[in-house]
């Protein structure tokens, strides 16, 4: 068996649950999480990476999970931007109501947009800095900060004050406030 296949199989054997959980955190859907992990594994192991260990491979796969997720989101954007034109009724978005129905982290995360959600996971789960998130997701740093600020504001509606929010994650804003992204 090739070295990379051995590494991949050991990674899946040892860390399958952790990777699926992480992907679920990113996307909020079990089936999609399964696809994300599989696609991320393919992306990671589709090229030779010298000295790849199980530990470093997991780091690659986790990064790829968010990349694949955001890439899919980008591809879907064109449709999402016009799909409302084909609906009979505009769906309502009521994050507060959704949170009241199930006041937990999963429900709170479900109120975030895909990019907000990815930024939150990378910032608070992976402890990446804002510049690192920006580079990883291909966004401007200011955009990442805006996503984080809006996401944190929405999460705090459900979860109360978030202690580990940093100044970088919640920039001071001059009176402007909005709920939609």
């Amino acid at each position: 068996m090739a070295e990379w296949t051995d590494t991949m199989e050991r990674l899946v054997r040892d860390r399958e649950r952790a990777l699926l959980s992480y992907a679920y955190l990113v996307c909020g859907d079990p089936t999609r999480a399964q696809d994300l992990v599989q696609d991320a594994l393919v992306r990671t192991f589709s090229r030779e990476r010298k000295g790849l260990t199980v530990v470093t491979a997991e780091a690659y796969v986790r990064r790829s999970i968010t990349s694949v997720f955001i890439d899919e989101y980008r591809r879907g954007q064109r449709w999402q931007r016009v799909q409302h034109l084909f609906r009979d009724e505009e769906p309502t978005r009521d994050p507060v109501h959704a949170i009241e129905a199930s006041s937990d982290v999963h429900a709170a995360l479900a109120t975030l947009s895909p990019r907000e959600r990815a930024c939150v996971v990378l910032r608070y789960f992976d402890d990446l800095t804002v510049p690192q998130i920006a580079r990883h997701l291909g966004l401007a740093e200011g955009t990442v900060k805006r996503y984080l600020a809006d996401a944190v504001g929405r999460l705090q509606l459900a979860l109360g004050e978030i202690e580990d929010e940093t100044a970088a994650a919640r920039p001071s804003r001059k009176g402007a406030h909005h709920e939609d992204v």
């Binding site: 589709s46 694949v68 982290v105 510049p131």
Partner: protein
Amino acid sequence: MKMSDALRGAAESAPVAELSISTSAVRSRARRNRLVRKGANGLVGVGAAALVFAGVAGVFGGQTALTAADSGVGGYEDSPGQGGAEPGVMEPGDVGSASADALCGMTFGAAQFAGGEVAATATLGEVASEVLPVSVTVADGAALASTTYYVVWEGLVVSTYDAVGEQALKAEVPLANCWDGSALPAGEYALVAVSLTADEPPIRVATGAVPFTIEGDAAADPFATYLTVPEPPDQSAASDALTPDDARAAYTLGLKGAWAMAAGTQRVLMTGDSADPTADLWGATYFGCPGWPGTGAFPATSAQVDWLDVSVSVPSSIHVSYGWVVDGNPVVHYSVTNTSTWSLPGFYASNPPRLVLVKDGTVVAEAYPVSTDPMGGGIAYPSAGAAAQQEALAWDADAGVLAPGARLSGDYLWRDLVGCWSSSGDAEVKAGTYTVLSSQEVYLGGNRAVAYGTESADAAPAPDGGDYVSFTVWTSLGTVSVQN
């Protein structure tokens, strides 16, 4: 509540207990992608695969043929969720052609071939002298015009043998690999015979996969030599990479006063620096929609640094209604050329151009044109010049490094224009003439290996000590007239 703790708790309770990952599927797809990467670069490799498909398409009158245009292959190593077959996969329409050898190393979708259109079976004799005797029996006694015998190892075609006439029914199949003709090594294999009948039009006849063994000590990965692609040099470790220290020095040298935003001029803002003790440099240099830190005006101090030539073909006017660009979406050609003597990291083909519209020195709207490439990819060229452009290199989405003189470009549709937000929502962009700027991020340093898992939860030491610096390159593209 600590968000980090909450997220870890959420991950622990994620409903994934019933899910599993198919390592065989991952192995097959990854192996296939590695094969497609074989050659000078990914794009050429994929193109070659597409040509192979095109070359064999139509053998069966379109029943199952796959054309290059339908194959869905693109310049990306992986395209989950896209239609069409993955690159490197044998489709039923690919078999039975004279190009069987070209399918060497591709995944053989045995399930798709089981039984074929006419029932047939293959009976194997004993392997002897690197030859495998095979007899094909066709259920209805149809005459066979030709047969291709495929030897498959771990789902990959490793040997092919084309036969006509009597050998279409009974052949001594040489057990030689299809790359250089070397004898197949010891191991477990399967044989599949795919034939065409003498009918007009011909009917495909396929047997199931029949396993056989070549005795001996099996090597761990006997075809690694043929399937492993030499890795290109790690561009991120290039000796000419721009370092944070060099960038800081260049920025300091280039510092200037106010920027008038004249068309064709450019300014660079340092937006982040690991050496910044306040960690709020981004706020001091923020230039975007008002409501964020700063006055909303372009910072009084910025630098002229010759790193990038940013070119965007902005139309002279656009018609905007409810935030949508109507009466035709102009195609915006966007290119970024590294005009410095350093390699610059962080230039990914999937990054769309970011445009802002400025009125009286303040940003009033943003636009993110959408790539005309469904995959959002751009092409990087090795150097300027038409001849060089013909030798297009696939953009390495993993490396994301723009070498000196290299260019990243693509075509984008300008579809919408988002007015800056306020408490009442996105502002309407009123008719008028606006200055158009593009912003391009440059991030240097900060590389680190992150280790996960309970046994090594801490991040590995950063090779560069966590030193990083980030910039935004602002380029004035002239003006655009917005009409409502």
